[in-house]
Symmetry: C2
C-alpha cells in the first residue's frame, strides 16, 4: 500500500468536522495538521474535536503557518466559508505554501462568471506555485450542476436544463433548519431576506457551471427566495412550529442565454417536504431525466470532499472545476 495522503484540515465547523470524521476512517488518508480560528477549538486535539474516541496527536492551530510547523501536509481540505472574496486570502496562503486545496467554498465551485477576478488571481497563484485547487460539494458542486452536465453526454441536443432539489429538513441537523429560517414569522423571513442573511449560497454558481459545461453564453442569473409557510403545527429540531410560521424555503435561480431562460434550478428545503430527491430534466428532441434519492447534504458533502482528495492530487496545477477533472469517485471499502 502506498503512503497515506497527509491532510491539513482547515476549518472545523459542522461540515469540517464531518469531513475530518470521514477522512480519519480512510486508510489512504492521515490527518497531520488542523486550523480553526474558534478559540474554543484552538489547542484541542483533532481526535477530541471530532469525537474520534482517541487523540490523533494533531493540535488545532489558529494560523496556517503555526499548523504547518506541527505537520507537513500533502493537501489542504478547506471548509471555512461560502463567499470567495472573504476566503480568497486563505486560498492564496495555501497556494503560496505549495499546498493543493480541496474546498467546500460554494462560490469557488464555479467562480468564473460571478467572481472572475478572484478566480483569475487564484488560478495564477496556483499555477505559479504548481498546485491544483478545486471546490466541490453536493450543492453546488455535484447534484445540481456536474451531474446535469455529465448526463448531457447522452443528448444529441439540449435545449434547456432544469434541476430540482427537494430536501426534507425534518431529517436534517438543527443548524440547517435554523439557517433556512424555520420557525421565523413571515415578516422576520422577509426582513432577514432583505438583509441577505437567508438563502442557500451557490445556485448562481451551479447555473454558471451548467452554462459553461453545455457551451451556452450565459447572460444573467436571477434568483428568487420565498418562505414555505406551515399550514398546520409541525415538529422541528427547534421545537414546535405554529401554523403560519416558516417551515422552509423555496429558492429558484434562472440563467438566461440567447435572451431566454435555459437553466432553471429550484431548491426546496422544508420540514416534512414530500418527495425528497434530486431531479434533472434535459429538454430537447430526445429529453432525458434523472431522479436521484438518498443524497443527504452533510454526509454527501463530506464524502465528495474526501473522495476528491486523490483527484486533486493528480490534477495539473491551476484552479479547476468539477468539469475539468476526471470523475471524483468513492475509491474505498
Amino acid at each position: 500500500m502506498p503512503e497515506p495522503i497527509r491532510v491539513l484540515h482547515y476549518g472545523l465547523g459542522p461540515i469540517g468536522v464531518r469531513i475530518a470524521s470521514l477522512a480519519v476512517t480512510r486508510p489512504n488518508i492521515v490527518a497531520v495538521a488542523a486550523v480553526d480560528i474558534d478559540p474554543a477549538k484552538v489547542g484541542r486535539d483533532l481526535g477530541d474535536l471530532i469525537e474520534h474516541g482517541s487523540p490523533l496527536g494533531v493540535a488545532v492551530h489558529s494560523r496556517l503557518e503555526d499548523a504547518l510547523k506541527a505537520g507537513q501536509p500533502d493537501v489542504v481540505v478547506h471548509a471555512t466559508g461560502s463567499h470567495l472574496p472573504a476566503v480568497l486570502p486563505q486560498f492564496l496562503e495555501c497556494a503560496a505554501a505549495g499546498l493543493p486545496v480541496v474546498s467546500t467554498c460554494e462560490e469557488l465551485s464555479y467562480p468564473w462568471f460571478h467572481h472572475p477576478d478572484e478566480a483569475r488571481r487564484l488560478d495564477d497563484a496556483a499555477r505559479e506555485h504548481g498546485v491544483a485547487v478545486l471546490s466541490t460539494g453536493i450543492n453546488p458542486g455535484f447534484i445540481m450542476d456536474t451531474l446535469a452536465v455529465v448526463l448531457s453526454a447522452v443528448c444529441p441536443v439540449v435545449q434547456a436544463a432544469r434541476v430540482r432539489r427537494v430536501v426534507d429538513l425534518s431529517v436534517r441537523r438543527m443548524q440547517l433548519q435554523q439557517k433556512v429560517g424555520v420557525n421565523l414569522t413571515v415578516a422576520e423571513f422577509a426582513a432577514r431576506k432583505a438583509q441577505g442573511t437567508l438563502g442557500h449560497v451557490g445556485l448562481p454558481e451551479s447555473v454558471a457551471m451548467i452554462a459553461a459545461g453545455l457551451g451556452w453564453p450565459l447572460e444573467r442569473v436571477e434568483q428568487t427566495l420565498e418562505p414555505v409557510i406551515a399550514a398546520e403545527p409541525l415538529d422541528s429540531a427547534l421545537g414546535p412550529i405554529a401554523a403560519g410560521r416558516v417551515q422552509g424555503q423555496h429558492q429558484i435561480a434562472r440563467g438566461w442565454a440567447g435572451g431566454e431562460v435555459r437553466i432553471t434550478l429550484e431548491l426546496k428545503m422544508a420540514l416534512q417536504a414530500p418527495d425528497a430527491g434530486d431531479f434533472i430534466e434535459l429538454d430537447g428532441p430526445e429529453p432525458v431525466s434523472s431522479a436521484v434519492r438518498g443524497v443527504q447534504g452533510d454526509t454527501a458533502t463530506a464524502a465528495i470532499i474526501v473522495n476528491a482528495v486523490p483527484t486533486v492530487l493528480s490534477a495539473a496545477p491551476g484552479l479547476h472545476t468539477m468539469l475539468d477533472l476526471p470523475p471524483v469517485r468513492s475509491l474505498l471499502a
Copy 2:
C-alpha cells in the same frame, strides 16, 4: 469561431450512419473522409449514405490509406465492431497514422481486465504516436458503468453496486430486435446462445470499469443469458410473435471482489418491457439510487460518441477510459 474539427468516419453500419448523421449537424465538426468495407457503400458519397439531402463531397473508401489521400482528418470516429481482438489492427493503423480515435468498440470501453494485452499494445502505440484513444457509448461506456462511478462521488462508502437497464424493444429498430433473438423458439435461442451469437457485448467491461473506478480488486466476472418468453401474441418489427416464442433477453453479469458479488448488472431487452429506464443502486450505510429515463440506445450512442470528439482531442496521448477524462458533455445548441 474556431476551425471545425475534421472527422474521418470509420464504419458506416447502422450506428456509424447515426453518428455521421448527428455529426453533420454540428457546426464544430466537418466530415472529411469515410471508410467502410461494404462493397455496396464504397464509392458512394457520405451525404447520400446518411440521407443528408445533399452530397458532402466525401467518398467512402474501403481502406484507411485511400481515405486519407482524399481528406486529412483531425480524429477518427470508429464504429466497426464490438470485439477488440478483431478490430485492434484498425486502431493500430489509426494510431500509426497519427490519428486520435473515438470508438464504439464495446470491448475497448474498459479493456484492462478482459483484454489487457491488446489494451497495452494499443496504449503503447497511442503514446508512441502521440494520440488519444477512447471507446465509449451508452452500454458499455456510460449508463451502466461511468454513471455509477460518477454517482459514487457522494458516497462515504459503497459496499455493492447494482445497475439495471430495461429496454423496451417495441420502440427500437428491427436489427436490434433480431440481434436480441425476438421471434426465435426457445430451442433456437438455446442453440444460438450455445454458439455464442446471442447476448449483448459489454456487460463484463462495465463490471470491470466499475470495479476499477471504485478500487475493488475484481476477481472474476460471470454472465447468464436467458430468453424472455411471450406469454401472449405480440407485435414486433419482425412481424407477429406467437405466444411461447422469444420476446427478448435477460442478461446478468456479476463481478466478484473479496470473494463476494459486489457488482450486479442486469440488462433486460424485450418487446413491451414495462418500466424502461436505467436504475443504479449503490449500497452502503448511506445508500444512493438513481433512475434515468429517456436514454435510447442508438440515438444516445451517436450523441455520446459525437460529444466525446472534443474530449478526446484535448486528452493526453494514450488509451483512455471514461474514468480518466473530464466529463463528456453535449456542447452545442
